[in-house]
């Protein structure tokens, strides 16, 4: 917002200075060329994102099969819920869909809150001055950069029930007597997935928060210290309010990312019922069962869920930000 107005004032000042009598026509010409400049990106974006999205909406209302989408007939909302027969049909009547919703919400809430706490701790650590700080920051980029599939395979190997290091370490430390089947047992497999995800994404959160921490002027802390504020008070009264805008942005990014999780679960736990996500469910219906109509309906539901969460985040964020007087 500020940047937009900034540009505006700047252009106006510029126009007034150099083109007093012609400034309107210049602004108009620039506005016209602006559309020309964004056109290639916009057209591409429309054809590879907006159009397929609209088609997914359309297919969700048909009985299309992935083999022959051309022979689709319009069937209304039956893919979502069909109460017509003796039993209810459709995605919303499928217990596995609701299982996937629970899994995804549990996964997202747990991973994002763990990332926030751990990321905050790591960011505070990296904000201190100590030998080896740069090396640590570099090392933290490794989990972030590793392809999710590689991370899934690595953790799958470490969680191996017979030969895995996780069981080996836990046994050596005396926590377990029998090896645990991390990936296979339903109660454990979600935790295996969560641990692998938190390992991979905490660095992103930490780096975001660190960047925000580094923008807080040091003298704020200095004066607080002189007035006798404890470290805890300094954190709650200075650090947290000042990094809140960046924190909310990082939270939105991470939550939306977690809600669409697919790769990790597909590879680490083979889309098992205990861990399958809504994206995994939709893709399974669409690709493996060739049910283009049902798969599209599930995809639309995924889209609406993610969009709903995004909107409520923005709403909560805005309300809170307005209370504290805006984040500029």
């Amino acid at each position: 917002m500020t940047l937009a107005t900034e540009t505006q004032t700047r252009s106006r000042g510029l126009a007034a200075r150099f083109f007093n009598h012609r400034d309107l026509s210049l602004m108009q010409r620039r506005a016209r060329s602006a559309w020309l400049l964004v056109a290639p990106a916009l057209i591409l974006l429309f054809s590879v994102a907006a159009w397929p999205l609209l088609r997914t909406f359309y297919y969700s209302l048909t009985d299309a099969s992935l083999n022959a989408p051309g022979e689709a007939a319009f069937i209304g909302l039956s893919n979502y819920l069909d109460m017509g027969g003796d039993f209810a049909f459709g995605v919303l009547a499928d217990p596995l869909w609701w299982r996937a919703v629970t899994n995804t919400l549990l996964f997202s809430a747990t991973t994002v809150s763990m990332e926030l706490v751990l990321g905050m701790l790591v960011a505070l650590l990296l904000h201190q001055k100590f030998a080896g700080r740069t090396i640590l920051r570099t090392a933290m980029l490794i989990p972030w950069a590793i392809p999710t599939i590689v991370s899934a395979k690595m953790w799958g190997w470490m969680f191996h029930d017979q030969y895995g290091v996780v069981n080996d370490l836990l046994a050596k430390l005396g926590f377990i007597e029998e090896p645990l089947a991390w990936v296979a047992v339903p109660e454990l497999s979600m935790w295996a997935v969560i641990i692998a995800e938190v390992w991979k994404t905490t660095p992103f959160m930490a780096l975001m928060l660190l960047a925000a921490l580094q923008m807080i002027p040091e003298d704020l802390y200095e004066s607080a210290r002189l007035e006798g504020a404890s470290a805890w008070q300094r954190f709650w009264r200075i650090t947290l309010p000042l990094i809140k805008p960046a924190m909310i942005v990082a939270l939105i990014f991470r939550t939306l990312d977690a809600l669409r999780v697919f790769d990790l679960i597909y590879v680490l736990t083979s889309n098992s019922e205990a861990t399958i996500s809504i994206s995994g469910y939709s893709r399974q219906l669409l690709v493996e069962y060739q049910d283009m109509g049902g798969g599209s309906a599930a995809s639309v539901l995924v889209f609406m869920l993610v969009a709903g969460v995004a909107v409520s985040y923005l709403f909560i964020g805005r309300v809170k930000l307005n209370e504290t007087g805006g984040h500029h």
């Binding site: 620039r30 400049l37 591409l44 392809p147 290091v165 006798g228």
Partner: protein
């Protein structure tokens, strides 16, 4: 209230705790990849006893992975797809980001919001529509399908990040251009594009990593083994029996798939960190 310095032992304790925490974070960050590397150097019965230090340096898994399993081909496919995707995105992003950052026009806010939304929406939401589009162009089971589908998430990303960078460039340059009577096109290509080179490297790298790591589209739109990208190839590595995965080969392929990315990240780490965080902190 006066400021009393903490006692010396207190300080010492704090320092020890700090270094202890640093060591823990370091080990947790690095260990899984280190362990994957260790595993990739071992074979046969050795695999079945966990070990934490390198004892053997046996590169035979790498040889077998590169010669037998088609990983070499997949590495090439991944490289080609990621490079072409990023190249295309950057090309159309330059002019778009100039307009979005430097020109005031009606509908700009909505446009920016739309682009941001596109960069965040779930991939699965376009899956069936994309299927149709790919079939329409006859690109099914072709690397072109991946380039086309990767634009859905790469393009909004590059436009967004480049716009953020473009805003931080000084506006006087443009004034100078206008003074000299340069057209908008000349201003962009001669004045801004060269200045934007570092930002384009950063944005390009981040987009490259995104394309290199992508899995869902690569799994869905390509079926022939020779057209697979690295993540799909790794996920499909099978052993002699259905029940025993070839872990040493999987780890060797994993190291091969990750190494190029890690090298890029280590070389450009400063840029990458600033690119990752710029949108959020300044936004």
């Amino acid at each position: 209230m006066s400021f009393t310095p903490a006692p010396r032992w207190h300080k010492l304790l704090g320092r020890t705790g700090l270094y202890l925490a640093a060591v823990v974070v370091f080990v947790v960050s690095v260990f899984p990849f280190y362990y994957a590397f260790l595993t990739s150097l071992r074979s046969g019965q050795d695999l079945f006893t966990p070990s934490y230090l390198p004892e053997v340096f046996d590169w035979s898994n790498y040889v077998s992975v590169l010669s037998d399993t088609g990983i070499a081909r997949s590495l090439f496919n991944s490289f080609a797809v990621a490079t072409l995707t990023v190249g295309g995105c950057l090309l159309v992003s330059i002019t778009a980001s100039f307009a979005l950052a430097r020109i005031q026009f009606r509908g700009k806010g909505t446009l920016l919001l739309t682009i941001l939304c596109f960069s965040m929406f779930p991939q699965v939401a376009v899956l069936s529509g994309m299927f149709e589009l790919i079939r329409l162009f006859g690109l099914y089971d072709n690397l072109g399908a991946l380039i086309l589908s990767y634009l859905t998430f790469s393009l909004p990303f590059t436009v967004w990040v480049l716009t953020t960078f473009m805003r931080s460039l000084p506006g006087d340059l443009e004034e100078a251009g206008i003074m000299d009577g340069a057209s908008l096109w000349v201003t962009i290509t001669r004045i801004y594009a060269p200045l934007l080179a570092p930002a384009m490297i950063t944005t390009g790298l981040l987009a490259f990593i995104g394309a290199w790591n992508e899995f869902m589209f690569a799994l869905t739109f390509v079926i022939s083994p020779e057209n697979r990208t690295v993540p799909v190839a790794i996920s499909m590595l099978q052993g002699a029996s259905r029940f025993e995965l070839p872990w040493a080969n999987i780890m060797a392929s994993s190291v091969l798939a990750t190494l190029p990315i890690i090298v890029l990240v280590l070389i450009f780490q400063r840029r990458i960190v600033s690119g990752l965080t710029s949108g959020a902190v300044k936004g």
